[in-house]
Symmetry: C2
Subunit: 229 residues, 2 copies
């Protein structure tokens, strides 16, 4: 279509490095601008947006159910002359609209969570690509030469990569704990810090409030004593 003036002045990073003339880039841009300038979007919390996405999943479920009933009756939604019938056209455009809602709601959820919790701009996108590429080593485009001929082969390699990720996380945790330390005060400091952070969150809260209470108590009693002297 024709470009509106607004499209011309965009900065590239608003669309995630996409061209704005391409539909995915346009939708990313729309979502980011809603986040900046739409009062409704600004009032919405992550859980509310998640509810919208959840209800959209139900809509798609209904739509797929209708299509499958129809498809079973009507061999792929074509009549005996191989033409698409009116119902199929209508169902396809309804499904397309619902899938569009899913894409929009997912992008909105990511944007709202990013704003609410200060996540990095492309962190979720990067995490997704990295994880999927790691777990599909049989893909010639980014894999390591592994081969998967069947869905079962693919599942085995996915699960193996998942196990390997877990093992690495454990190893990393161990290496941090066993790293070489300078002697004396350093060791004591690290031990005390580790001890503190190994406590559960509630124990840490209790511990921190006790220390704070003790400090305030000491300061107050010290002041009272000074006044009386």
């Amino acid at each position: 279509g024709k470009m509106s003036p607004a499209r011309k002045v965009l900065q590239q990073d608003e669309s995630g490095g996409l061209e704005f003339s391409a539909p995915p880039g346009r939708l990313l841009y729309v979502v980011n601008r809603l986040g900046m300038n739409c009062p409704w979007t600004q009032s919405i919390k992550p859980l509310e947006m998640l509810e919208w996405l959840g209800s959209e999943v139900e809509e798609v479920r209904k739509e797929l159910g209708q299509i499958s009933v129809y498809g079973a009756l009507c061999s792929g939604g074509r009549n005996i002359w191989g033409e698409e019938t009116g119902d199929v056209g209508r169902m396809k455009s309804e499904l397309t609209a619902e899938l569009g809602d899913i894409l929009f709601d997912s992008l909105m959820l990511e944007m709202i969570c990013r704003r609410e919790f200060g996540l990095g701009k492309f962190d979720a996108w990067e995490a997704a690509s990295a994880k999927v590429e790691r777990r599909t080593p049989y893909m010639k485009e980014w894999g390591d030469g592994s081969i998967a001929e069947t869905p079962q082969d693919a599942t085995k390699l996915w699960e193996a990569a998942k196990m390997e990720e877990k093992r690495q996380i454990k190893d990393d945790a161990k290496r941090v704990q066993s790293q070489p330390l300078r002697k004396g005060r350093d060791v004591a400091h690290v031990k005390a810090t580790q001890c503190f952070w190994n406590m559960s969150f509630s124990l840490r809260s209790i511990f921190a409030s006790s220390v704070l209470g003790f400090a305030i108590g000491a300061a107050v009693s010290c002041r009272i004593r000074l006044r009386h002297e």
Copy 2:
């Protein structure tokens, strides 16, 4: 990061007009390639993919619940010195990963439905942008000069645009039915077609099978008669 050789030979339309160096473009590319070359992805039906997305929505719900409990106890997940604590960092990266899964599953669902039902490549993306832009006329970037100061204003304009869409769909249907016709056979043909397509799907099936049965019956009896003569 460094570009792998695979990234250099990509065709632009594989990432929806995105640059592959940008994370959203990369994820679109990954999803499209899985659709082309991954045996697991090729075995998955739309409803199965929808289940994956649904379970991911639940994962994000859990994660948001944890963060909100923690946030209430710990004023935004920072300690009394304003530093982010270890738990917040962990929760943020877990949430980021879950949001990445939502993005991935949504793109996969769109791709699998597109393949299964022969939808147009960017139809869902275009439908989403067009709908959202129509229903947010108060956005200065693409709107008509309407103003929304509050979330309530925005909701009113959204609902008004939705009503207008429904009215237009009805009008279009009326216009098609009342369009000028050539006389004689054309009118008869259109009336018969309309009559046929206005029937419910099951009535149409019954009607079509009767016609087919009648034709076969007539043909067979004609053949028998010819033989006996």
